[in-house]
Amino acid sequence: MTEHVSDRLSRKASRHVKERIIEFLLFGAAAFSVFITVAIVYVLVKESWVFFETVPLSDFLFDTQWTPLFDDAHYGIMVLLSGTLTSSGVALLVAIPLGTIIAIYLSEFAGFTVREVAKPFLELLGGVPTIVYGYFALTFITPLLQKFYPDLPGFNLLSAGLVMGIMIIPYVASLSEDAMRAVPMALREGSYAMGATRLQTALWVVTPAATSGIASAYILGISRAVGETMILAVAAGMQPNLTFNPTEPGATITSYIVQVALGDLPHGSIGYQTIFAAGLTLLLMTLAFNLLGYWLRKHYREVY
């Protein structure tokens, strides 16, 4: 080896340290979110465990009454689940067709100007606070529905579900539109070159090609519906009611949790513990939808 005449190629300590600090900060940010998720699951499972020591799982799953605050207490989650499923069902009946139609229009039919104006407005609809939607349902939609159906109670799952659907439209429409616009122009040109109309191209080529993205949009919409709280707490009545009839009032898992969390039940009582069991049920439901979405994305992913 010859003698060194310069150290210009040697390691620079300051650069090395800076790199390590940045790497550590980035790792910390990522680890923080993982930690929070694990902590939430831990709390839910631990508190639910206490609940299930008193109440057998079979009662929780199969009992048809939900009366944790009565002397004759029943803990049938089906009651709350029916409210969640009914209101979500109504919401999705509004959001999925309308959201999909809007997405097809914006992606395949609207001109540049219309799209650039309409999309921010649509996204604004998703930014309205849910409490505003709740009062909109209670003080506008319910009276409106009562004009056509006078027997409709003041609190009902129908108007809450309808307004929840309006709230979800932007999520479904915006994500579906992104998925459709990502479909390469070459596929559309192939369709037009065969003599297809714009509608045929949109429905027969673009929509199937965007299936995985559209499915993720639907899944996100479902998760939003299942997890929505405030609209239901305000407009649906918070009465536990085993029903799939949307014209009745009902409590959902989320609105029940709000009710108990804000109420004066002593911490540690079995009534208070119910909200953790209910919360765990909700978490498992959204987890199942997320897994379904993940599977759909993998299974229907288009390789362009």
Partner: protein
């Protein structure tokens, strides 16, 4: 009406399928085709050659009105007369969808739809409202046979078109274009994304297909034009420099510019 016939030496009497006359075309402010004229002979292969940006694909896409899909494109004069109708394809009274039903297209990169092999070929028939299952089966089988793909896919018509190899996908796209019985098929550099073996099979297919349809093909590959075409047009900067019988263009071009391009001195 008497359909015009070829005027070049050696093709007197060959009927024209279409005639491009003084065609001007603009992308926004860019003058992409300048007073282009050329005949398209019936049941022959006509090749468009020239360096990138010369307007050959632009001219091809005028034939099926693909330019109508994008704002800012403008047919600015002249036209393409289709025979035997004697109608200008670019006239505002002509419905682009009707044009595309009769003039089909195969693209540079194979672009099968995200559907089964069967549905890919049936697409151009379904678009025309065909619903009869037996008729669809027959037409799809016939088109796949014409595209020399039937033997390879007959047992797996339900599989996705995208599962085929590149060359097979391009033959699937040719079958798709053939299924509706078009009068002209436009090929836009159909082999530029394929390997030499797949290219050879597509070239062979194009030569066979001229029994059935008139073919217009854009190609970057001069040897390809020489191998498969009956007529060749050389374009440069949006102008038609020379049109003629392929042998004449490659052996004895009339213009110096054509000779420079063909011999590789330029381009």
């Amino acid at each position: 009406m008497q359909i015009p016939t070829g005027t070049e030496p050696g093709v007197e009497g060959v009927v024209l399928k279409a005639d491009v006359r003084d065609l001007d075309f603009y992308y926004g402010a860019f003058h992409a085709l300048k007073k282009v004229s050329m005949p398209i002979h019936d049941h022959k292969v006509t090749a468009l050659i020239g360096p990138s940006g010369c307007g050959k694909s632009t001219l091809l896409r005028c034939f099926n009105r693909m330019h109508d899909l994008y704002p800012g494109n403008r047919y600015a004069g002249g036209g393409i007369v289709l025979y035997p109708d004697n109608t200008n394809l670019l006239s505002p009274d002509v419905d682009p969808i009707e044009v595309r039903m009769r003039i089909s297209m195969v693209f540079q990169k194979p672009n099968p739809f995200p559907k089964s092999i069967f549905e890919n070929v049936a697409y151009s028939l379904r678009v025309r409202g065909m619903r009869n299952k037996n008729e669809l089966d027959d037409r799809v089988e016939a088109a796949l046979k014409e595209a020399a793909l039937w033997n390879e896919v007959s047992g797996r018509l339900k599989e996705l078109g995208a599962n085929l190899s590149g060359g097979q996908q391009q033959r699937l796209c040719i079958a798709r274009a053939l299924a509706s019985d078009p009068e002209i098929i436009l090929f836009d550099e159909p082999t530029s994304a394929l390997d030499p073996i797949a290219t050879a099979s597509i070239e062979e297919l194009i030569i066979e297909l001229k029994e059935k349809v008139t073919i217009l093909i854009v190609t970057h590959n001069m040897q390809q034009a020489a191998r498969i075409s009956d007529f060749t047009a050389y374009m440069y900067l949006g102008e038609m420099i020379e049109f003629g019988v392929t042998d004449q263009i490659f052996i004895k071009p009339k213009k110096k510019a054509t000779e420079d391009y063909i011999t590789g001195r330029f381009g």
